[in-house]
């Protein structure tokens, strides 16, 4: 909750220092510093193009960054090291705007695939775990269903269960309700909220401001590739310091 001054307190689970990322000549992240404590819930807000999704995607190596460092559990992210990436990605789960369920596998198999391959999980415990996770997201009866038989909200909840099956320490949520019909947003957010309550470390890029305000411990406002303003949700939403954040917040009420 507090921007740590010295690395004396509890070790950060995600530590980002001077992170810069460009797409060609276009620099989208211009030096990001961020420490995330275990169990912390962080909401990242900002205009589109401010680099918030890119930042999230850097944390599990979906995007390569050019300079700076990023550690998860004190282990550095190394793009060229397949083993290190595999280890890191087991600690960092991700949920996408477009769900990205595997359409050729049933819901249960979607959840079971990665633990089976990466953790050599056996069939029986895998199935038991998958059923448990699906029950947790309220989809126990959908084990044998196919992804395209589900609503968007249900698909997103399966995606959450699938990510949880790897038992990640950090969960990245990239605008996970943006592709949903309004009436389906609530069911997904409730699941995320329950994860937050259970102590999962969450980093979420979101446009759901009331949700961010309610659930997060810290809100980050990104602007033009930088962390422009950061603080507890009440402060940030209640008393924005910079004109950019003020403008951003007021534009939401139009």
């Amino acid at each position: 909750m507090q921007p740590v001054a010295k690395p004396v307190s509890a070790p950060a689970i995600v530590e980002i220092k001077g992170l810069r990322k460009s797409f060609g000549s276009n620099e989208v992240l211009k030096g990001i510093d961020l420490q995330v404590q275990p169990g912390e819930v962080i909401a990242i807000i900002g205009k589109s193009g401010s680099g918030k999704s890119t930042l999230l995607r850097c944390i599990n190596g979906l995007e390569e960054f050019q300079s700076g460092s990023l550690t998860v559990d004190s282990k550095p992210l190394l793009h060229d090291n397949a083993l290190a990436m595999r280890a890191l990605r087991q600690r960092v789960g991700m949920i996408f705007q477009g769900f990205n369920l595997f359409p050729h596998l049933t819901v249960g198999k979607n959840v079971m695939l990665a633990p089976r391959l990466v953790k050599q999980q056996a069939e029986a415990p895998g199935m038991e775990q998958a059923r448990k996770l699906l029950a947790r997201v309220g989809l126990a009866e959908k084990f044998d269903a196919w992804p395209d038989q589900l609503s968007g909200g249900q698909q997103q909840r399966v995606a959450i269960a699938r990510a949880l099956a790897m038992e990640p320490a950090v969960l990245l949520c990239d605008e996970i309700t943006s592709a949903l019909d309004p009436e389906l947003v609530g069911e997904v957010l409730r699941v995320v909220e329950s994860l937050a309550d259970e102590g999962m470390t969450l980093l979420m890029v979101t446009h759901e401001m009331s949700f961010a305000r309610k659930v997060s411990d810290r809100v980050i406002f990104m602007h033009q590739g930088r962390v422009h303003e950061m603080g507890p949700p009440n402060e940030l939403f209640g008393n924005p310091q910079t004109p950019e954040l003020k403008q951003f917040l007021s534009s939401l009420h139009d």
């Binding site: 599990n60 190596g61 979906l62 397949a82 990436m85 595999r86 280890a87 990605r89 087991q90 960092v92 789960g93 991700m94 996408f96 477009g98 990205n100 369920l101 595997f102 359409p103 050729h104 695939l113 990665a114 391959l117 990466v118 196919w146 395209d148 995606a159 699938r162 990510a163 790897m166 990245l172």
Partner: protein, 217 residues
């Protein structure tokens, strides 16, 4: 003068058709294996490989199969290796088929949404696992129909092997014509045999396509 019945002609063509089938299978299996290896090489994103494979594809797609057969036949001999027409034809057709198949399959893999790669990557799957368990199972379903369709092209393409002296259906037809002086009858039989070979394959491709559209997955 000896009189040849239509059956005599047909029977001899039928015997030669075995070589057409053999050459087609050879080209398809060989080309499939080489094409698959090229596809994996291309997808692995090793620097330069994608461009090299792209150039390979362009060379084989941009030159006539006939020239490729000539080059294989006379080119291999240039290195002092004594090639039979069979080896040259099988080599040329294998390379030709691999270039087309790898391009067809690349398109099928490219049609799988990027999100599938990203989702499987973020679940810590390795490149091989992503390909094997997530992308290929989806791509294969799309690939079956065009692949089988291309097999028809290969079967007909084997006719060109006749120009380097490989005795398959077309070459046998020419030889029988020279003996019987009945070109129309002979080439009608040749055409009929090609049709008998190709038609079931096209039918199968069509059936697969329909099945694919009917089944949800």
């Amino acid at each position: 003068m000896v009189d040849f019945s239509v059956w005599d002609i047909f029977r001899n063509l039928l015997l030669a058709a075995r070589w057409t089938v053999g050459l087609s299978l050879m080209a398809f299996i060989g080309g499939g294996i080489v094409g698959a290896l090229l596809l994996v090489a291309r997808l692995s994103q090793v620097k330069g490989v994608d461009k090299a494979v792209g150039a390979y594809v362009q060379v084989f797609q941009g030159t006539p199969l006939l020239m490729q057969l000539f080059l294989a036949y006379f080119g291999i001999a240039l290195f002092g290796v004594n090639t039979s027409a069979w080896v040259a034809a099988a080599t040329a057709l294998t390379l030709y088929t691999s270039a087309f198949l790898t391009e067809i399959w690349r398109g099928c893999v490219a049609s799988i949404p990027k999100g599938q790669w990203e989702a499987s990557a973020s679940l810590a799957l390795s490149f091989g696992e992503r390909l094997r368990y997530v992308v290929l199972p989806q791509a294969v379903k799309i690939a079956i129909a065009p692949t089988v369709g291309f097999l028809v092209q290969v079967i007909k393409g084997t006719a060109l092997a006749s120009v380097i002296g490989f005795i398959e259906l077309t070459k046998a037809g020419t030889m029988i014509t020279n003996a019987t002086f009945k070109p129309f009858v002979v080439y009608s039989c040749v055409a009929l045999l090609y049709f008998i070979l190709c038609f079931p394959v096209s039918l199968y491709a069509k059936m697969l396509e329909r099945k694919l559209h009917a089944a949800r997955r």
